[in-house]
């Protein structure tokens, strides 16, 4: 296990996930009533740290475990194994009561601007709920504080008494942001906050988050399913595949010289401003489906879809480490990392056929 060293000094570390594992027990095929108990390996040994003031993007396809990881980071889900250290405190060891005081310092912005706001409560009461829960603002002051928050996120404070149904998707997401900011948290986990919005609205919310980060000195863990959104906002990017990190690095480096084939594939899926720039835009389409997290492939989990996979990929799990030719903060979990600028394709020497053990 490689414990990551933060970008800045270790005092600046705000959140550190240490070898986090999350397994969900499930029953499958049980119409006969004797279903097998199986385990979904949602997150399998992820270590990731976020420094104060930093924005880390967590990218991966739907179902790769990134949302589970986000919920573990806030202890909305319990870990199966591993530790979550927030501001020097191991959250996984906290009692429910102690945890509640830490909840003030870390908040979440949700993906679905429709599902994340209670349709039966007025906006003022939704944004003011954190004050009510923690008693940080007296009842008489609450309305004022809520309206300040509304102004901060670009909502009309006069809409205090409206219901969520009376707002557009983008405005609803602003309400979610205001609620998350009410307790002045240090860490904001954004779970695909713009993926449910119209493209024209996405930039507004991203810009809002960027402005708020500067004004309020926030730290973001920003989750997205592709790189197009996070590359504008993030300092570092972590790429996740099937419950594990495959590559972590500073945005400029990872964006330009990805070393992991999966990152390369993800990058190529992002539209570029200039379509004639074909040198940069060589589209790589991955074949095959994501394997089931109930029964992940041995060795490197990406090997079943990787054009470069060879025998060793099925046998050994590639460690997430700095590869020759990368910068000091750029780590890749691949036995055969791409050279900077190398297109994703098979190696010159055709590899022996991939062992399909453990999968049918």
């Amino acid at each position: 296990m490689t414990v990551e060293t933060p970008v800045s000094d270790s005092d600046g570390l705000l959140l550190s996930l240490e070898d986090v594992v999350k397994h969900f027990p499930v029953r499958t095929g049980s119409w006969l009533g004797r279903g097998r108990r199986e385990v979904v390996h949602a997150v399998d040994g992820v270590s990731l740290s976020v420094s104060r003031g930093e924005t880390v993007g967590l990218v991966g396809e739907t179902g790769c475990g990134k949302s589970t990881l986000a919920r573990i980071a806030l202890r909305l889900l319990e870990v199966t194994r591993g530790r979550v250290v927030f501001d020097g405190v191991d959250l996984t060891a906290l009692s429910a009561r102690h945890l509640r005081s830490y909840r003030r310092e870390m908040q979440m912005i949700f993906q679905d601007p429709y599902g994340s706001l209670n349709p039966r409560r007025r906006v003022g009461s939704i944004i003011g709920e954190p004050f009510a829960v923690h008693g940080t603002v007296t009842r008489s002051q609450r309305r004022r504080s809520v309206q300040e928050l509304m102004e901060l996120v670009g909502l009309n404070p006069e809409h205090y008494n409206r219901f969520p149904a009376e707002f557009s998707g983008g405005q609803r997401q602003r309400i979610g942001v205001a609620r998350a900011l009410a307790l002045r948290p240090k860490l904001l986990v954004c779970d695909e906050p713009v993926s449910a919005l119209d493209v024209s609205i996405q930039a507004q919310i991203v810009n809002l988050l960027a402005r708020l980060q500067q004004e309020l000195h926030l730290t973001y863990l920003f989750i997205a399913h592709d790189l197009s959104v996070v590359r504008h906002l993030c300092d570092r990017i972590a790429v996740m595949y099937l419950g594990q990190l495959v590559e972590v690095g500073p945005v400029g480096e990872l964006d330009v010289t990805p070393r992991h084939p999966y990152t390369q594939a993800l990058l190529s899926a992002v539209p570029v401003p200039d379509p004639d720039d074909t040198a940069r835009h060589r589209r790589v389409v991955l074949t095959g489906d994501v394997p089931s997290p109930i029964d992940p492939p041995s060795g490197c989990r990406f090997r079943t879809r990787c054009p470069r996979a060879r025998q060793v990929c099925a046998e050994q799990v590639p460690p997430l480490e700095v590869r020759a030719g990368s910068g000091p903060d750029h780590r890749t979990a691949c036995h055969f990392p791409l050279d900077p600028g190398e297109p994703l394709g098979s190696l010159e020497v055709p590899p022996p056929p991939v062992l399909e053990e453990g999968r049918q």
Binding site: R103, L117, R121, P130, H134, F163, S168, I201
Partner: protein, 336 residues
């Protein structure tokens, strides 16, 4: 941090996003926002049949409240027997006449006043039993649905058992047991009468409410706004009261409205069978039971209490349908 491409609006878009909502002149009406309750009320107000039913119910309630005034106005007490004026020489009830507008019963008492007093029992039991049923059912349904696991299994089994018990048999058995030997609960003694009838109805009716509420809570439990509340550090009880309950309340209210006539009928049935409200209290169910012996001689004795009961339950059922249509126009509340 790179700014997004030039094509995207670079400003914080309070204007661009939805100019109409954002910059519309702030009239009080648009700012306050119309709550789901208000919308339901406005739908209800357009439902003429339900308004008529509501009017009938208001009249019945007024009759119940002012029953003593009716007694005073006619000069006939509710328990007073009029052996000469109220009974024929053969000792049979007298038909409606100038003195007794709705006729008299087998003991020569005035039906008009007794029916008015009967409304008190019916409404009181109907409302109290419904409140009890809904309180027990909603509380258990919320707890079972929200917490799941062992609590849920326990409550779900209890619901299964309660739904397997033949209500009427059990109710009359329990009511009769208690009426022979009053039940002592601390300082309270439950014998015959309104409290035991309310209790019996409540005990045997909560299961359906619990089942419906539980289903709704399970549908709501995994919504993101519940998770958001947990992320804020809200306790389970706070989430249940402030986030879950408001979303199941419409269903509970609709069900409660429809439960009132059911409770009224249950009370009348128990009284009809002689284990409900004991005589001489004026009660529609026991009046009908008494009248059954005289139906060949005194149709009014049987008909008027029956009509009173029927009108009341019909009005409440129409109102209940109207409330359901107003609160849940797409008919989703009971699908859970």
């Amino acid at each position: 941090m790179t700014p997004p491409g030039a094509s995207a609006p670079s400003e914080l878009g309070t204007q661009t996003e939805d100019p109409h909502l954002q910059s519309a002149p702030a009239t009080a009406r648009s700012i306050v926002g119309r709550s789901p309750w208000r919308l339901a009320f406005e739908r209800f107000r357009r439902d003429r049949l339900s308004l008529v039913a509501l009017g009938v119910i208001v009249v019945i309630v007024l009759v119940a409240i002012f029953a003593p005034l009716i007694a005073k106005g006619t000069g006939h007490g509710v328990y007073t027997q009029y052996p000469t004026a109220g009974l024929t020489p053969a000792g049979l009830p007298r038909p409606p006449n100038a003195v007794f507008p709705l006729g008299t019963d087998d003991l020569g008492r005035t039906l008009l006043v007794r029916i008015a007093y009967g409304a008190r029992v019916s409404l009181l039991v109907g409302v109290l039993a419904t409140l009890l049923t809904v309180s027990i059912g909603a509380a258990l349904g919320l707890v079972a649905g929200y917490f799941g696991r062992g609590v849920d299994t326990l409550i779900a089994r209890a619901v299964d058992v309660m739904l397997s018990i033949p209500f009427l048999l059990f109710a009359i058995a329990l009511a009769s047991v208690v009426s022979v030997t009053p039940l002592h609960l601390g300082p309270f003694t439950l014998g015959k009468g309104v409290p035991i009838v309310v209790l019996v109805i409540g005990i045997f009716s909560w299961a359906t409410v619990a089942r419906i509420v539980r289903g709704q809570v399970i549908a709501i439990r995994n919504r993101e706004y519940i998770e958001a509340a947990r992320a804020l550090g809200a306790s389970s009880w706070r989430i249940i009261v402030f986030d879950v309950l408001p979303n199941v309340l419409p269903t509970i209210i609709v069900y409660a409205t429809l439960l009132i006539p059911v409770s009224i009928v249950a009370e009348a049935a128990l009284s009809y069978l002689g284990v409900g409200i004991p005589p001489p209290t004026a009660d529609w169910g026991s009046m009908i039971a008494d009248a059954q012996s005289y139906y060949q001689q005194a149709w009014w004795f049987l008909t008027f209490p029956s009509l009173a009961l029927l009108t009341t339950t019909l009005a409440f059922n129409i109102l209940g349908d109207g409330v359901r249509d107003a609160i849940d126009p797409r008919g989703t509340a009971f699908k859970a």
